[in-house]
């Protein structure tokens, strides 16, 4: 048996790649907070930054969200593009919201299906694809 601890290291894929999972636990970036402080964000709630990047923006993750939402984006899209779990992103969004750096636009109330005009517009749009 070899005594060199590095023997065989190159045989398999590197263990520190994406497959190995995050090096930092996901909720590190929220300082351990796991619940948003206000009402929840739907996956299709739209977000728009109301400020450009400020020097005192709390963290690189907050900054990344602000940069992304310079144009309107849905919560799911923001989470995907900053590559953080949804729960983490929701906490960060609450920070930005309470700091007045971001605006949210919620989808219509959940107890109603869209009206006839909207549905017809969707059908028309799908046909035109």
């Amino acid at each position: 048996m070899s005594t060199d601890p590095l023997d065989g290291v190159e045989e398999g894929p590197a263990w520190w790649d994406h497959e190995a999972g995050p090096v930092v636990r996901p909720y590190m970036v929220t300082g351990g907070r796991v619940r948003p402080t206000t009402v929840d964000f739907d996956l299709i709630t739209y977000l728009v930054a109301t400020a450009t990047l400020a020097a005192d923006t709390p963290s690189p993750e907050h900054q990344a969200i602000l940069a992304l939402t310079q144009e309107p984006r849905a919560v799911a899209e923001v989470a995907s593009r900053v590559d953080l779990p949804l729960g983490v992103v929701r906490v960060l969004l609450c920070d930005l919201l309470s700091d007045g750096l971001i605006a949210r636009y919620d989808p219509p109330p959940t107890d109603h299906l869209p009206n006839v005009e909207t549905l017809q517009a969707v059908i028309h749009g799908l046909r035109a694809l």
């Binding site: 989470a79 729960g87 219509p108 549905l119 799908l126």
Partner: protein
């Protein structure tokens, strides 16, 4: 916290459609066939303590599970955007479905005739929630072993639920599934609202 939705909102109205079905039924493929962006992935990190079927008895350290949801986007017009969300395939993540299904326009249940039973749970779920849905039978490699009517019988769904054969890789075919779904929703809206 204030939330806003008005006609002057500087953002489009977003609608969501769910794509459900068993593992490997082709959900992400279907989303990718019509999405204007390559399907994106969002992840939710769960501790096993929150998942009923995972027995953590005797496990000293909690582990985390990542549940992925793939989604795509179709811009209908400047003021209307459709999001398609693939639901997590495993039944033990039902509670994530609740969040997804809330406010959804409707759902596509993607069925695989080789594993038809995999779609029972999704059908039950949408029936119970009164979420409008259609059943799209994914015909892999033109393997049309069954007709839509045979599948309808096997799944025992109500006569008003559209059942259609599809190819999840084919843009026109998937477009047709979505149009069928929205027309189905339109029929429901019209019949529930007095003219």
């Amino acid at each position: 916290m204030d939330s806003v939705r008005s006609d002057t909102a500087p953002v489009p109205q977003a609608l969501k459609i769910l794509v459900a079905g068993g593992f490997g039924a082709g959900k992400t493929t279907l989303v990718g066939a019509v999405s204007e962006i390559a399907p994106l992935r969002t992840e939710e990190v769960l501790t096993t303590a929150g998942v009923g079927t995972d027995d953590t008895t005797g496990v000293a350290t909690k582990t985390t599970t990542t549940v992925a949801m793939d989604f795509g986007r179709i811009t209908i017009n400047p003021s209307l955007v459709l999001y398609l969300f693939g639901t997590p395939g495993q039944n033990r993540f039902w509670f994530l479905w609740d969040e997804l299904a809330t406010g959804a326009l409707g759902a596509v249940v993607l069925a695989d005739t080789r594993r038809l039973a995999d779609s029972f749970a999704a059908i039950d779920y949408f029936e119970q929630r009164n979420t409008p849905f259609v059943i799209a039978v994914n015909c892999f490699d033109n393997d049309q072993r069954y007709t839509a009517e045979q599948v309808r019988e096997a799944l025992d769904v109500d006569g008003h639920v559209p059942v259609l054969l599809t190819d999840a890789r084919d843009r026109m075919s998937v477009k047709n599934v979505l149009i069928t779904l929205v027309e189905h929703v339109l029929t429901m809206v019209r019949s529930s609202v007095p003219a």
